[in-house]
Amino acid sequence: MCFDRATLAYGDRVVWSELSMTVTPGEFLAVLGPNGSGKTSLLRALLGLVSLSSGSLEVLGEPPRRGNPAIGYIPQHAGFERDVPLRGRDLVGLGVDGHRWGFGRLSRADRARVGAALEAVAAGPFADAPIGRLSGGEQQRLRIAQALVGNPRLLLCDEPLASLDMRYQQEITELIGGWAREHRGTVVFVTHDVNPVLGFADRVVFVVNGRWAAGKTDEVLTSQTMSSLYDAPVEVLRVRGRIVVVGEGSGAGFDIDEPHHFPEPAGAHQ
C-alpha cells in the first residue's frame, strides 16, 4: 500500500495533503487523530469510494477499485436494531456473496467457509441467534468473521472499538492483531485511542487539520511532533504503559470519562 503525495479535499476543505507513506505487507498501521480529521476518508480512499484530489495511491499493487475482494472491511460499531431479521451466520454469509447479483444460496463449500470464519472468532455459540439481541462485543466479533471470510490480504478497520467497553476492546484488538500475525495480513486500524493497539501497531499515522505525521509509535507520539502538528503546545504523557495526549485547548485538560481522546485542534471542523 503506497500513498504518494496524496491529497484529498472536499471543495476547499483539505482533509489531508501531500500524504506520502508506504505500508509493507504484514504491517499493522494505526490511523490516529481527533474526530473529523479525515481518518475515515483515508479508508474510503483505499476502498475506492472517494478519489484523490491529487497525488497517487496504490493498494495491493494496483490503483484502488470498488469491491476489491482482497480487502476486508470492519465498520464502526453501530448496534443492529433489536428486531432486524438477521442472524450472525447470515451476516457472515453476506460477506461471501452479498455483492453478487441474483438470488442464490450459498454452496456447501461457502457454508463451510462461513462456519470456519465463525469458529475462528469463537462466534459459534451465538451464530444462529437474532443479531440484534447480541452484545456489542459479540456483534463486532461477527463483523470480523464477515470481513475475514473472503480471505483478504488487507483488513481495513474503521473505529472497530468505538462504544465497546475495555474488555471487549481488548478481545477485538487481539482477534484482529492475531489474524494479522498468523496470516501475515496487512491491517489499517482507524482509532481515536491508540492504547488498545499499542501492542500490535508497527507504525502510526496521525492526521489533524490537513497535516499528518507517520512513523513508529514512539517517533510520532512525542510532545514535539504533536505540538508541531497541532501548531500549539501539546503534551504526550506515558502513564503506566498508556499514552495520554493532552492539549491546552482541551477544556479542563483532562476528561475523566475519556482520558485518551485527542484534543480538538483550534478551528477544527466537525
Binding site: L49, D83, D90, L94, F126, D158
Partner: protein, 279 residues
C-alpha cells in the same frame, strides 16, 4: 356459506378476483419485507396517494386509470430517488412530494366530478371489478417486479441490513436504492387494485412487520411475509363474496389479526427456541 362459495366459484369475476389476489399478495408479501427493513412505510403511503392523483389525471384525459396509477407512483419514486436517499432527508422529501401530489389530485377530481365511482374504486380497491385485460396487465407488472427483485435480491439485502460494509464490498448502494423504489412503485400500483390507496399499508407493511416478529432467519421471514399477504388477500376476497362487507375490510382485519398474534406469540416462541431476550 361454503356451499355459497362453491356456487360462486365458476363466475369469471370471482376467478379473476382470486387470481388477481394471489398475484398481488405474492408480490406485496415479498416487497413488504424490504419496505419494513428499510423503514419505508411513509414512502409507500406517498407512492399510493400520488398514484391516485395519476389515475385521476388519466381518467380526466380519457386514459386507463390503472396506467395512471402506475405513472403517478413511478414519478414519485423518481422524485424521492433524485431528491433524498438518505434516511434523514427522505422523510421530508416524501412529505413534500406527497403534499403537492395530493393537491393535484384534488384539482383533477374537481375538474372531472362525473365519474366519482372510478375515484372511489381507486381509493378503496375494486378487486371484484378486475377484468381479464386488467389481469394480464397485473401479471406483466408482477413479473417485472419479481424478476427485478430476483436480480437484486442479494445486493438489496446487503445494502438494507448492512449498508456500510455493502458499499465497501462494491455494492452500488445508491443505484440499488433507486431501483428498489421503482419496483416498490410498481408493487404499490398493483396492490391498490385489491385494497385501494387508503389501505395499501395493509399489504405492503403488515406482512413484513409480522414476519420480523416471528423469525430472524431471512429466508423464512420472506416466506412468512408472503404467507400472511396471501392469507389476508385470498381470505378477504372469499369472505367478501359471501357477505355484504367490502373486501378491504376483511383484508385489513385478517392482516391485523396476524400481526397481533405474532406480537403476542413472539415471546413464547422465543422462550421455546431459547433466544436471549436481554438487550
Amino acid at each position: 356459506m361454503i356451499g355459497q362459495l362453491v356456487h360462486l366459484l365458476p363466475y369469471e369475476f370471482v376467478q379473476n378476483a382470486l387470481i388477481a389476489g394471489v398475484i398481488v399478495a405474492f408480490v406485496a408479501g415479498l416487497v413488504s419485507r424490504f419496505v419494513v427493513a428499510r423503514n419505508m412505510s411513509f414512502a409507500v403511503h406517498a407512492l399510493a396517494e400520488v398514484g391516485f392523483t395519476g389515475s385521476a389525471g388519466f381518467i380526466l384525459i380519457g386514459l386507463s386509470p390503472v396506467l395512471g396509477l402506475l405513472t403517478g407512483s413511478l414519478l414519485v419514486a423518481v422524485f424521492i430517488g433524485a431528491l433524498g436517499l438518505r434516511i434523514r432527508e427522505r422523510d421530508a422529501v416524501v412529505g413534500v412530494v406527497m403534499g403537492f401530489g395530493l393537491g393535484l389530485g384534488v384539482l383533477f377530481i374537481t375538474l372531472y366530478s362525473r365519474y366519482a365511482t372510478e375515484a372511489f374504486a381507486i381509493l378503496f380497491g375494486a378487486i371484484t371489478a378486475v377484468s381479464r385485460g386488467d389481469l394480464i396487465l397485473l401479471a406483466v407488472v408482477a413479473a417485472i417486479t419479481l424478476v427485478g427483485l430476483g436480480i437484486m435480491y442479494r445486493p438489496l439485502t446487503f445494502a438494507t441490513v448492512d449498508p456500510a460494509v455493502a458499499e465497501a464490498r462494491g455494492v452500488p448502494v445508491r443505484l440499488v436504492s433507486i431501483l428498489f423504489l421503482l419496483l416498490l412503485a410498481a408493487a404499490v400500483a398493483e396492490a391498490v387494485q385489491v385494497v385501494g390507496v387508503l389501505l395499501i399499508l395493509t399489504l405492503l407493511i403488515t406482512p413484513g412487520a409480522t414476519a420480523e416478529r416471528l423469525t430472524a432467519q431471512p429466508g423464512l421471514a420472506t416466506a412468512v411475509s408472503i404467507g400472511v399477504a396471501l392469507l389476508a388477500t385470498v381470505g378477504g376476497i372469499l369472505l367478501a363474496l359471501v357477505t355484504t362487507v367490502p373486501v378491504s375490510f376483511y383484508v385489513t382485519t385478517i392482516a391485523f389479526v396476524c400481526y397481533l398474534a405474532a406480537r403476542l406469540g413472539a415471546p413464547a416462541l422465543e422462550r421455546l427456541r431459547g433466544v436471549p431476550t436481554a438487550s
